[in-house]
Structures are given as C-alpha cells and as structure tokens.
Subunit: 74 residues, 6 copies
C-alpha cells in the first residue's frame, strides 16, 4: 500500500502530525487528504511535551511542510 | 471535501496563516487562493502573541511556505 | 483575481519581498514574474529595520523561497 | 540503478532516515515508497545518539523532507 | 523578459548566488542554467564578508535552494 | 551542458555533497542520479572540518535537499 493510500485510509481517524518549523505536534481528526498530503483536520490541538497547549479547531496543513504523520490510539 | 476546496470555501473570510520562517502569524481577508495554496490577502496584519504588531495591507503568500491556515472567528 | 495574476499586476511597481532565510526584506522594481513567482527585480536594496542597508541592483529571486510580497507605496 | 529504484529495493528491509528539522534519526521497516520518496514505515523508533528514544509505530514520511536514507544492518 | 530568461542571459558571466542554509555567498562563472534554476558554475569561490574564503571549483547548485542571484561587475 | 547532464557525467566519480540541515559534507562514489538530482552514493562518509567522521555506506539523497555538489579530486 503506497504512502498516500496509507494516509487516505486514516481519513476519519485521529492523527498526529509533525510540521516543519513547529516545535509542537498537531493532533486532530483527519477529514481529507490529497495526493500532495495537504490535510484538512478538525478538532485540532497543539501538543507540547504530551500536553494539549492550544486549540486550533479546523485547519488546513500544507503537505510539503509535513515531516511525518501517524495514527493516534486514544 | 479536499483540503484545497476547504481553502476555496474560506475566500471572503478572515483567516490566520502560519508561515515558515515567521515567528508571527498573519491575519487577513482571503481574496483568492490557487491549487498551490498561493494566497492573496487584504487588510493583512502580523499578530505576535495575540497582539497586532504590523500592518501589511495587500500581500501575496507563496503556498509552499505555508505551514497551516485556519479561519478566524471575530 | 488569482494570486499569480495579482503579482503580474504589480509588474512595473515597487514591491517588498520577504525571503526565506533572510533577516532583511528586499525592495525593488518588479520587472517580471512567472507562474512559480520567480521574480526579476531591478534597483533592489536590502532593507533592515526600515533602513536601506545594501544595494543589490538587478536580482533574480527563486519563487519557492519567497515568504510573502506586497506593493510599496512611496 | 536509479535512486528511486534503489529505494524500492529496500522495501521489506530496515532503514534509517534522516529528516529535515529533526535532530534524531528514524529507524523502521520500509513498507512502501513512491516516486516522491514518500515512505511508509512500521515499527518506527526515534534514535538519538545511537539510543532508541521514542516509539512511533506506523508512520508516513513526506519525501521532500527526507535528507537521506540508508539500509540498516542489524 | 521572464526571470528564467534573465538567468539564461547571464550564462558566460560572473554571478553571485545566495543559497539557503549558507552563510556565505557563492561567486562563479555561470556555465549553464535550466528552467528550475539549477546552475552549473566554474571557478566558484565562497565569499564571506566580501573576502574569498574557499575555492570550490566546478559546482552544481540545486535551483530550489537558491534564494537570489545577481550579476557581478568586476 | 545543462546542470543535470553535468551531474550525469559525474556518475562513477567521487563527489562531495552539501545537504540542507547538515553541518557536515557527504563524500561518496556517485552510483546514479535522476533528473531531480536524487542521488545514490556508495562508500559514503561524513566529512566534518576536512576529517572523515562517520561511515554511512550506501545512501540515497533527496535531490531537493541538496545545496550543492562538486567532484572530488583525490
């Protein structure tokens, strides 16, 4: 399964995303993703050292600035 | 709804944009956006620690340098 | 009007450009721009803290390293 | 053998990946890779100074943020 | 004249190039350039604070990591 | 000769590569290169201040994170 297909399979799930130039990790519900890995998340929060620090709500992330993403198991 | 469509839906709304290599966040009225997430904003201001710091007016943002963007509710 | 069209409309005008990895802002006369936002400026100067610091003359800027650009009103 | 073919040949093997903006190296089992070098790894761990520091499990890495990757011989 | 055409016109001339992640500027004779602004320079030297610091000879520069380039008048 | 052709001509030769986000330079035997300047090197070592510091062996480098490369004369 190709990486972008793996991401498509995570739509509807909670994911963590590490962005370039961010010290924190973003956590949110993956609403959609395209082939460039641009992502739409809802219920997004910043997580610093394992603590939720800032509520961002609905955000769009630019794919080329994603370092890595992985599913979160609550 | 794909991420770029989500951004198109924000045209006419006030958004916040976090750029790579910027410590501040930009806030402005989204006039247009293309598939690369290049954005045209008007009434743009820099926001540092929640305070408006500098008025930029009409700006064009290069999509690949956008970390994230989200709608602002006044 | 799409962002790249907005930039085309600035050809012949004085603009400010914030580049990635630059602490200063560049100011110059926009001679041409392509779809990638590669720019050709003339009479370019670096501006640090609102002061002109270094004269660069004719420069080509790589579009993907542009953070933002805006028109300058003298 | 082209670089992307070299990466395809590593599918099923354990690899190390150095990412932009990461101080650590990621180590995991390469499940899939596409032409952009987007990668899907499982059993991924962060390695800091040769020590495993954090378990990430299943992750997707954005290809353009990969500095280098190489096979790991256990 | 489009920016990439402007660069083509500099083939055979001495140019200065500011690269991302470099503190110095590179100076060399432009041998060739493609549409991505990948450059081949010969007689390349690093210039730090206006002083030649290191001789690099024949180098290839990746276009997307170029911040700006301009012609040098000896 | 275009920059990518120049790189093709270096296949089979020892090269030095400066990567983004790396303090060291990589030195290795160029096995292959594609149009994006993705590279496959063997016998790769990190070179810090002119000293070989770490043996990496066979590595794949992502082209967009290459700052510059040049041939090494032993």
């Amino acid at each position: 399964m190709f990486p972008s297909k793996k991401v498509q399979n995570l739509v509807g799930s909670k994911i963590q995303v590490e962005m370039k130039g961010e010290k924190c990790v973003l956590e949110g519900l993956l609403m959609s993703a395209d082939d460039y890995l641009n992502l739409h998340l809802t219920n997004t929060t910043e997580v610093v050292d394992g603590q939720k620090s800032r509520v961002l709500g609905s955000v769009v992330l630019r794919g080329n600035n994603i370092i890595l993403l992985n599913p979160v198991n609550d």
